[in-house]
């Protein structure tokens, strides 16, 4: 399958209809696996990497989920195509920099992807929308079980799955969820929450890995350690913490609605005004303003159908996606900013102005689910 066809579809996980969709954008799990006694990609010579890839590729392409997969060597992808995959979180930045001897395989739904010869021989990733880490783990665990039959995975009785970096040994698993937390950011509780999550051995990072100052109020929470806890224990612990963060976010939103409705109305209204009329916009500004619209949709200031438009814009306004859509490979930042603003203006023209009358009478129960 062609990459252009894959990209034309917004991935299944990009449409925000999963469980806890008001707060959780997506759930992701990745497993690191390696072949026994074969040099890890970072140490292997090019010829050895190609050999390993030849062993792994047929196994991965033979997975039932990969029946109609997209499979390509990294050297055959243009820098722009690689960047698009990075923006969709389908490959890592590190993998995007790889050449011959590395490959990517993904299913058309973009829910399962395998990076071959990233830092480890295999990085298997599954991603779904909303909060459903258990289901994501099930998908990835099945793929792992299918792959261990034809491939001899490096495994040690004490250390578990052996990985290029000792920080991944054991389960080789990194599970994460992407959360939209405008309430905690506006009410200035986010630092406190991040610190307390960090203290229990989990990590919080921004959309693209920044520290505490995240763009678009998007944060990723993941496990940091992989040895000494089973996969299920890690996921249960992570899930529990995420549910607590969700509760804090819901409380923060509710108290903002009760105590500062005008401020909220103002932020959402201004965001709508700027997005609807600006002629040049950076991706950072777009992310932050779209976050306000997303919050407005959660609070029912906008009709339900605008939610999809916002989710799509969050993806499509990223630099490589914009450029790909315009099929102009040599745009500069200024041209992109202009194109971004016009894309947003046209998409937003279909959305009515925020219904501020919704706010002074906040729902007395929870934020609708």
């Amino acid at each position: 399958m062609k990459l252009s066809r894959i990209i034309a579809n917004t991935g299944e996980w990009l449409t925000g209809d999963g469980p806890q969709r008001h707060i959780v954008v997506s759930s992701r799990v990745r497993l690191a696996r390696n072949l026994r006694n074969q040099p890890f990609p970072g140490w292997a010579k090019k010829g050895e990497r190609i050999e390993v890839m030849k062993k792994i590729l047929p196994a991965v392409e033979g997975l039932p989920e990969m029946a109609e997969s997209f499979s390509e060597g990294m050297e055959s992808l243009s820098p722009l195509e690689r960047q698009v995959l990075v923006e969709r979180h389908l490959i890592s930045r590190e993998h995007a920099a790889k050449g011959a001897g590395s490959a990517v395989v993904m299913n058309p739904e973009q829910t399962l992807s395998v990076m071959i010869n990233e830092e480890d021989h295999l990085r298997i990733q599954a991603i779904l929308n909303g909060l459903q880490l258990e289901k994501v783990y099930e998908i990835i665990s099945n793929a792992d079980a299918e792959l261990e039959e034809p491939l001899d995975f490096a495994f040690d009785e004490t250390l578990g799955y052996l990985t290029a970096c000792p920080s991944n040994v054991g389960t080789g698993m990194r599970a994460s969820a992407m959360l939209h937390l405008p309430g905690l950011v506006i009410s200035e509780q986010i630092t406190k929450i991040i610190n307390s999550v960090n203290k229990i051995g989990l990590v919080v990072r921004g959309l693209h890995g920044e520290g505490t100052e995240a763009m678009g109020n998007l944060f990723q929470i993941s496990n940091q350690t992989t040895l000494g806890e089973s996969e299920t224990q890690i996921i249960t612990r992570l899930n529990k913490v995420i549910l607590q963060v969700i509760e804090h976010e819901q409380n923060a939103r509710m108290s903002l609605v009760e105590s500062r409705p005008t401020m909220l109305s103002d932020q959402i209204g201004r965001a709508f005004g700027i997005l609807g009329h600006a002629c040049s916009m950076t991706s950072k500004e777009a992310l932050n303003l779209l976050s306000a619209i997303k919050l407005g949709a959660d609070l029912e200031l906008f009709p339900e159908k605008c939610r999809h438009a916002v989710d799509e814009l969050l993806i499509e306004t990223q630099p490589a996606h914009l450029q790909k859509g315009a099929s102009a490979p040599n745009m500069d930042a200024e041209e992109r900013d202009t194109l971004r603003a016009s894309l947003i203006r046209s998409k937003l023209s279909a959305i009515p102005a925020p219904d501020h009358s919704r706010l002074p009478k906040p729902p007395t129960t929870q934020i609708p689910d």
């Binding site: 040099p39 034809p150 990985t163 040994v169 040895l227 000494g228 806890e229």
Partner: protein, 179 residues
């Protein structure tokens, strides 16, 4: 606050990890944070962050001229990259690694999922050690008829190759994609 890695730029990325009451703190400038891959949680490595920061005592005091016989990776490389060369390196550098692994993780041994063939091997090992125990008891109680039977079972069981090797080779057993 200055960056822990380059001691040059102002730190703006603060990482803290507390595991079993042990706290590790690393402050990085944006450039070093980027260089150390403090980005995507899917690829983030606490080991990367720690490499080159502070002292790796274990690496200092263990033998310096170790080399993996499978892939040729050396202790010097390990110190430089905080990575391994191949799965066999974990045996070769186990002394140097044990402290590093202990500081990075919640525990020191894996309790999660195992590959299928490994489970079968482990069961075989357990079965063999049980039989050997029985054999010892039988010999001690001078029950030689029983002992002979057990010895036969042990011989049969241990002559079986381990289940993974017993299967046809992966290349032939795996259905190649037709397209």
């Amino acid at each position: 606050m200055k960056c822990d890695a380059c001691s040059n730029a102002e730190a703006s990325v603060f990482l803290t990890k507390v595991i079993d009451g042990k706290m590790q703190k690393v402050n990085l400038c944006p450039a070093c944070a980027k260089a150390k891959g403090v980005a995507d949680p899917a690829s983030f490595q606490w080991g990367d962050v720690l490499s080159g920061i502070g002292s790796s005592h274990d690496l200092e005091r263990t033998q310096k001229n170790l080399k993996c016989e499978v892939c040729g990776f050396t202790q010097t490389e390990l110190k430089k990259t905080a990575r391994l060369g191949c799965s066999n390196c974990y045996k070769v550098f186990s002394d140097a690694l044990s402290g590093m692994i202990k500081s990075m993780h919640k525990g020191t041994s894996h309790i999660g999922k195992c590959p299928c063939h490994f489970r079968a091997e482990r069961e075989k090992k357990e079965l063999l050690s049980n039989l050997e125990e029985e054999l010892k008891t039988a010999v001690e109680s001078e029950n030689y008829e029983q002992a002979a039977k057990i010895r036969d079972s042990i011989r049969i069981l241990s002559s079986k190759e381990n289940p993974k090797e017993n299967q046809p080779t992966p290349a032939s057993s795996f259905p190649l994609p037709l397209s």
